[in-house]
Symmetry: C2
Subunit: 638 residues, 2 copies
């Protein structure tokens, strides 16, 4: 290749600046002309290079660019044969050829000592790669850039780990050096997809359906019963703000205010101490609208998700399937069923009634007694011995529920602790059972049996997957609405009293209004949960807009001190429209879409499961002087 | 008008439901079909009625709709002649005609007792108003809706003030009943314009220029010297998070992470105790990009504002004007000049040198001594007596600077305390002075004289405006970049030491690099402020990306404890690209665009100037139990 005269080497890195003189370090590369059409007119697609020094990203050059003069900026990914640099940015990799004449020799020498991850600016010409040297695995592999000028913008001096997705590193190291971890292709993808998807959601809500983006306060008053709310001391002695768990009150007040389609990508706070895969601050796509019913909100959200769904992740159904809470509990033993796979819970009570074994008879003699079963295809092949025993033991400990195991032998005969008590009727009820299947039976109170089998269903799925039996495809997205939840639940500490199943602002089901006065525990609420692949990714409700009804729920049923919510009750008396809303858990939703193990992988700067920022070492001790301003002191250890 | 049979009255309000039976209250009006094209296809403009009970807003019906069956939802604004209802929503007003036959009489009777601001759903037919009864002041005034069915969705039972913009109410009452205040046309406009403008900003950044919306944590570590940062106690004894004043560190770390175009509409926190027109939490449009220089960021922001600027507010120039800090201080006496009007500061030192009056001679004998002047057109007419005296007294108290007043009499002769000492040269220098002008002269040290006249310029403008002389048109928008700020300023408490003029991450001006080692106080920074009509609405800088330089600034010049920022210094050593950014103060910007007196008028739920939420009474006392969880106690009063 002919070499051009005037190859320049500018060095701007800290290592080199003393030799080069101070000015060289701050020599400003020429920026792409701000007045150029790409930077000022609305382009059809994003212009990733506007206002910047570069003319192209490292990922966009193709054969069609051959002959163009380009400027690239990026990180030194690797060097080859003392002649090639590979430059990386968020968009891809680009091979750069260093000049091989006399002018280029100083450059080569400098580059040969240049640490990986140093930041370079390269000016040069796009040339085709010599025939046979194209790299078809690289998007830019048909071409390379013949460098005329290389500027060292910064030298990388220390790296605790290599910037390669293939290099394994502990999560704590990744979090301590999060700014390096973010350079990984996976995190770049996750964070950029999150941004793109949220932007589409905003377009749908704001531009297409007239929703108004309203920011609500995060320094607020403590909610009655608001455990888990962080406190914020103020300069007024003894007075504290609280960081709210959601903008619930504000969004209802906006409806009263006639701002009838509200949404916000809202920061929320919840102090749960140390919990795996929870964050003390998290994000909700929060919305509320007036003059709407349950179906209206559901259709809105379905439209929202279809509109914002990443193209590469397939399409979503229209409408989403719906299941009642009762059905979910009965068929899946859980209120957030993973409907990607079968193994549903079957009721075989009738078929088991004739069984004369004592414990079965005893269980069935009680009012809620029943026998439930799930059939595990190929379970007899993969689930046995210790693995099965320890799984059943775990269920026994968590649910106080024994589970009977029936193997279908390869010859089709059944092996069961009930022996010949296993009636023909039962065998018929489980007629789908094939050789090598496993049947799991729970005898006991209805709710316990279902809950235990529901948990067992998921555990068994994990065990089978560990054996290579694919059950739950992470690239399949099964959305499901769960509806008709109970409005109230018995309190754990005192089952005679009721507490809200979700929150006290949820409206009762219109058909259950009379039960509110006769048997509140039986009232269903107008609550809906959005479930994705067995995870709750959203929840909402139609709210109570009538102040008397709200007062009845708060005061008479929940025994709350209504004075703490007097502003809300007053608001309902001041012309509150019917309204309802929902909040989607954005972190969880995005993590499932990108297939991340943890929500930490879709958050730029997450905290550890203990709530620590490992990079800056937060939370931390503060000075007595700082505390004094807030009239607080740390309680001495007892 | 012919009356239709089957007029129905459904009542859903709390007042009426006992008579009507429980179900009526929860009778769900039919929602607009979710499967209709408007709700599922992407409409060209916002569909304000999708998924809702209504078919139209109260503001959109016109003559072209005559004959259509419509459903409206809204608040009862007023009633007329026992026959008309006027229904209001965020979009406008609509007149509804009640049926006047027998079927309608019960409805009329119910409506006659219906409190204003009750929430109604009306079904009916759009009809033209009888000839001569059109109301041209009303957008919907050509038509009315002949009601067939009226549902009372909620009865309004108490109102502390009328929902009319014309009704004066105290700000504290407005804030206590914010949910009613939000119904005002002005607040609806402000909040909706804010949402629309932010959406346009997002389109510009995200869709057009490839910026990535990244949420950064708000539970973070205390910044060194971070007074004004709220603390958040944790369940770890003695350890606190801090609510950051801006995402500064995070956005720089994102650049190091190769996420090279970041933006966020970021919630920020600053505890300033009680200050008028400040809020403890506020919003910044925060962005950062890599491989960019100062001009690049400025052009980006100019494009952003032009793209998102509300059409009804005129157009913005391209490019925006630029002024150095030195010029701003010299000509306007302030670093955020209001360039909507003249009265600039003139230097008349040379012309005053010959004046033999003692105090002038003394002032000019000092190194920074000077004489500065502003000319107030028509000032002699409007500014005199007590008003002028008290204004000058205020300046004297704030700046320790006397100001001489020269009147230009109607015959053109000058009246001055200097008498004949007012030289001909000086008169020439102020040659623009006309009859009835006022000249204000400050003799003293340069910076003091300029600052005093700068303040006086604004005060005088206010006095003149009070007299009806228009000077500062609130509908004119003068954006201005102020650049070349000093990088460091002498500390107030110890002028021998330097502190950052903005923050320690600002890069020095490339031309002043050597001064950093010889005379740091003279170094200019690569900082830029965006000023609008005399208010700072944004500020940013090109950052230091070299770790040695950052260490020198922090350690050698600012004498900071660098260990608190070790993660940032380490990040700069790990391949940090050149980068810069800016933050726009969204609350202030929007308040100026809508002409609001206070940023509280563009925030849905603002706090009072004392930081109180008057609606919920936050901050408030919390229980000892709550404090115990966080290992803190309130310091007893001394």
């Amino acid at each position: 290749m002919a070499l051009r005269a005037g190859v320049k080497l500018l060095m701007g890195s800290g290592v080199l600046w003393r030799q080069q003189g101070i000015r060289a370090l701050f020599a400003t590369p020429r920026r792409k002309a701000a007045g150029s059409p790409t930077s000022h007119q609305a382009p059809s697609a994003s212009d990733l290079n506007s206002f910047a020094f570069r003319s192209h990203t490292c990922g966009e050059l193709r054969a069609a660019h051959v002959g163009q003069e380009v400027t690239l900026c990026g990180w030194l990914q690797y060097q080859r044969h003392d002649m090639f640099l590979v430059l990386r940015d968020f968009h891809g990799l680009m091979q750069v050829v260093l000049p091989s004449d006399a002018d280029g020799s100083q450059l080569k020498q400098t580059m040969s000592a240049m640490p990986l991850e140093s930041v370079l600016l390269v000016k040069g010409t796009v040339i085709p790669r010599p025939s046979g040297q194209e790299n078809m695995k690289m998007a830019t592999g048909a071409v390379e850039v013949q460098a005329k000028e290389v500027q060292v913008l910064n030298t990388c001096r220390k790296l605790p780990f290599e910037i390669k997705d293939s290099v394994k590193k502990s999560e704590s190291l990744r979090m301590q050096y999060r700014y390096l971890d973010i350079r990984s292709a996976q995190l770049q993808y996750n964070l950029r997809l999150r941004s793109r998807m949220v932007m589409k959601m905003r377009e749908y809500l704001c531009n297409q359906h007239g929703f108004v983006d309203v920011e609500t306060p995060t320094l607020f008053k403590r909610t009655p019963g608001g455990a888990k709310e962080f406190l914020v001391p103020t300069q007024e002695p003894g007075k504290f703000y609280s960081l709210p768990q959601s903008p619930q009150q504000f969004k209802q007040l906006l409806m009263v205010g006639g701002l009838d389609r509200y949404f916000q990508v809202a920061r929320c706070y919840r102090d749960e101490g140390s919990r795996p895969d929870r964050q003390p601050e998290f994000t909700q796509v929060d919305l509320e609208m007036s003059f709407v019913d349950q179906l209206g909100i559901r259709r809105l959200i379905e439209g929202l998700l279809r509109y914002s769904w990443p193209e590469e992740k397939g399409t979503l159904p229209d409408p989403f399937p719906v299941m009642t809470y009762a059905e979910a509990m009965q068929r899946y033993g859980v209120d957030k069923p993973d409907t990607r796979f079968q193994m549903k819970i079957m009721d075989v009570t009738a078929q088991m009634r004739p069984v004369t074994v004592g414990f079965v008879q005893e269980a069935l003699s009680k009012s809620n007694g029943c026998v439930k079963a799930i059939r595990v295809p190929e379970g007899a092949t993969y689930l046995k011995g210790k693995v099965l025993d320890s799984t059943l033991q775990m269920i026994r400990e968590q649910y106080s529920q024994d589970v009977m195991v029936v193997f279908v032998r390869s010859d089709g005969s059944w092996k069961s602790p009930l022996g010949k008590n296993l009636t023909e009727e039962l065998q018929k009820a489980l007629a789908g059972a094939k050789a090598e299947d496993l049947l799991l039976l729970a005898v006991g109170p209805h709710d316990t049996a279902c809950a235990a089998l529901g948990k067992l269903r998921l555990e068994v799925a994990s065990r089978l997957e560990e054996c290579g039996v694919p059950l739950r495809d992470p690239n399949t997205f099964h959305f499901l609405w769960v509806v008709d939840f109970p409005l109230f639940l018995p309190k754990e500490e005192n089952p005679e009293e009721l507490e809200s199943a979700h929150h006290p602002f949820t409206a009762p089901h219109p058909e259950d209004m009379e039960l509110l006065y006769t048997d509140p525990a039986k009232v269903r609420g107008q609550h809906y949960d959005l479930v994705l692949n067995g995870n709750e990714v959203g929840g909402g409700s139609i709210r109570i807009h009538n102040s008397e009804l709200q007062r009845r729920v708060l005061q008479d049923i929940l025994k709350e001190n209504v004075s703490l919510l007097s502003h809300l009750l007053e608001a309902l008396e001041s012309g509150a429209p019917p309204h309802g809303g929902i909040a989607l858990g954005l972190d969880r939703l995005i993590s499932m879409i990108v297939g991340a193990q943890s929500i930490r992988d879709v958050i730029a700067f997450p905290k550890s499961f203990r709530g620590h920022d490992l990079m800056s070492n937060a939370p931390d001790y503060v000075s007595a002087e700082d505390l004094q301003l807030y009239h607080i002191q740390v309680t001495p250890k007892q």
